[in-house]
């Protein structure tokens, strides 16, 4: 089966700024694909190109195999997408806003009832969009993306600005969609959410892909350890001299180090010999957030094996 989304050297330049730089990815049917990167890394611009609102400067992409402009317009009716914040007519009711989308996608009242029910907005469907809370707006956007039972759903920061309860609701809806076999392309800052939801991820920085693969592949490999001491800065300086160190960074009052193996005794000894007593030393499960931080907070395209010194 061919890829649902396939980009080849996709590039977008805004005057002198290159927002997306030679992006090549393939999203296969049924994947929940996390598209990660710090602000300004090109996530929204990429989604903008895929959804037809931004013209690529170079490169190409296919949606459901469609490569021409006309084919892609038709292909877009097989997908549902929201970009950045929910964009609706503030003076229309939630239901009338959905009707606008339903008319384009050829859906009827029954479909609208269904998606409103899924996102829990049936009771507020006759209220104007401008009276909705942010969480309700996000849920209406999700309802709109679900109209017409699309095969591909593209969500750009769907949990932006939501409280924990709202985030949980959005995550549940995404999980339900994934369970129904939908291909989901999800951009988010919430890495632990992505790790729980996504099967595959691409990590971007400055428009270029730093890492691409399944979540398991990306988080596998080296070992992480957490160290704490009274003087975090001094501890950070010391661990940088560790012989087997791959990387080190500070998170709040904790120094995170990356090692080849899980033997922490030499680490403890090394630090103690330099006059620092550790108050905490523990192995840590490598998370997507760890990989993301390593890749995006240090130098350009730094590999996992390089040490930030």
């Amino acid at each position: 089966m061919s890829a649902v989304i396939e980009t080849e050297q996709l590039t977008k330049r805004f005057r002198k700024t290159t927002a997306v730089d030679g992006l090549s990815i393939a999203v296969e049917p049924g994947q929940v694909f996390g598209f990660l990167g710090p602000n300004g890394s090109g996530k929204t611009t990429t989604i903008g190109m895929l959804t037809g609102i931004i013209r690529p400067t170079a490169g190409s992409f296919r949606l459901f195999g469609a490569a021409t402009h006309r084919e892609q317009v038709a292909a877009r009716r097989r997908m549902g997408a929201t970009l950045e914040q929910p964009n609706f007519y503030p003076y229309l009711t939630g239901r009338d806003n959905l009707r606008i989308v339903a008319n384009v996608k050829g859906c009827g009242s029954k479909d609208m009832d269904e998606v409103l029910d899924v996102v829990g907005l049936t009771a507020r469907q006759k209220d104007q969009f401008k009276t909705y809370s942010l969480g309700m707006k996000q849920r209406l956007a999700l309802a709109a993306t679900m109209l017409g039972d699309p095969e591909l759903i593209i969500l750009d920061e769907p949990a932006n600005g939501l409280d924990p309860e709202g985030m949980r609701e959005i995550r549940d809806i995404i999980a339900r969609l994934a369970d129904r076999g939908k291909t989901i392309f999800l951009s988010s800052h919430l890495l632990w959410e992505v790790e729980r939801t996504c099967t595959h991820v691409a990590i971007l920085k400055k428009g270029r892909i730093l890492r691409l693969g399944s979540v398991a592949e990306i988080t596998a490999g080296t070992v992480l350890a957490e160290l704490r001491a009274a003087d975090t800065a001094r501890l950070h300086e010391i661990v940088k001299e560790l012989p087997d160190l791959l990387a080190a960074r500070v998170e709040d009052d904790t120094v995170i180090i990356e090692l080849q193996d899980d033997d922490l005794a030499p680490v403890n000894r090394f630090v103690a010999e330099r006059g620092v007593s550790l108050s905490h030393l523990a192995l840590r499960q490598r998370s997507l957030e760890d990989v993301f931080m390593e890749l995006t907070t240090t130098g350009e395209h730094r590999g996992m094996g390089e040490i930030e010194r």
Binding site: I53, R55, L83, F88, P90, Y91, D96, V104
Partner: protein
């Protein structure tokens, strides 16, 4: 798909409070004006407000109110699509840019029918029918050319508004620029052209609002009214009014329509949303 887009434009327009406020205010204002004309004619034998003669009043007298209200409403309906980012969402949902543009073009005839047809012609014709005496036909020979000409002039004025809002992509600023164009900018351009060289004077009358507003003069359609206007001007030592050759006027308007709407389309298609 075109049917769906038209349906959507109707939903967006008829659910918009700002549209209804403008439309009801405009229709109320014109209706009051015609009630006044009807009552004056009824109680003052020197005056008349009856079909078919009243068509000159209905079609051309203070017609600027029609083009201002219809164009401002058009700007409001289109401009907010960009500020609310609903234009981009429509495209994301599967409307092509070309279809989106067509949907907005549909608003021009819609505004024409609503503001000229429903807001102006219907109440005008109703009160002019009430005052009617005799058995003359309801419309004279000048009615259809005048209706066509005024409609073309209004479509032209709206196409200029359309061009401005598609370029600026914000309702408030577009209204300002559009009104300034009619009130001052075109006059300044005309003055500037004439100051460069007198030989450019004939060009001035081909500027867009000069062309479109030429359709709003009843003497353009009625030779008898033109004759009377010329006689009055001669009697008062003023320059007699001139009218356009109808073919030149229509072609000038059509060329401006193609230029304004065509460049709006090309610009819209090229720019990111």
């Amino acid at each position: 798909m075109i049917a769906a887009i038209v349906r959507n434009e109707l939903i967006k327009t008829f659910h918009r409070l700002a549209f209804w406020v403008g439309f009801i205010f405009f229709t109320g204002m014109t209706t009051i004006q015609y009630v006044e004309s009807y009552l004056r004619a009824k109680y003052d034998t020197q005056r008349s407000f009856a079909l078919p003669d009243a068509w000159s009043d209905i079609l051309t007298n203070d017609i600027e109110t029609v083009f201002i209200f219809s164009s401002v409403t058009l700007i409001l309906l289109i401009g907010n699509e960009f500020t609310w980012r609903t234009a981009r969402q429509n495209v994301i949902d599967g409307v092509s840019k070309e279809q989106w543009f067509l949907g907005k073009l549909f608003l021009i005839p819609l505004m024409l029918v609503l503001f000229l047809g429903v807001g102006r012609l219907l109440p005008g014709a109703f009160f002019a029918l009430l005052g009617r005496e005799g058995s003359e036909p309801l419309v004279g020979a000048t009615f259809w050319p005048a209706l066509g000409g005024v409609s073309l002039g209004l479509v032209g004025a709206m196409s200029l508004a359309f061009f401005v809002v598609m370029a600026i992509r914000a309702a408030g600023a577009s209204m300002g620029v559009w009104l300034l164009w009619f009130a001052a900018i075109e006059r300044l351009i005309a003055r500037g052209l004439v100051q460069i060289t007198d030989s450019l004077e004939p060009v001035v009358r081909f500027l867009p609002s000069a062309v479109f507003q030429s359709f709003f003069r009843w003497i353009q359609y009625d030779p008898e009214a033109l004759q009377q206007a010329v006689e009055r001007a001669v009697a008062n030592n003023r320059t007699p009014p001139e009218i356009w050759d109808p073919n030149t006027l229509v072609w000038s308007a059509v060329i401006w329509l193609v230029v304004l709407l065509g460049s709006s389309f090309l610009w819209f298609r090229r720019r990111d949303l």
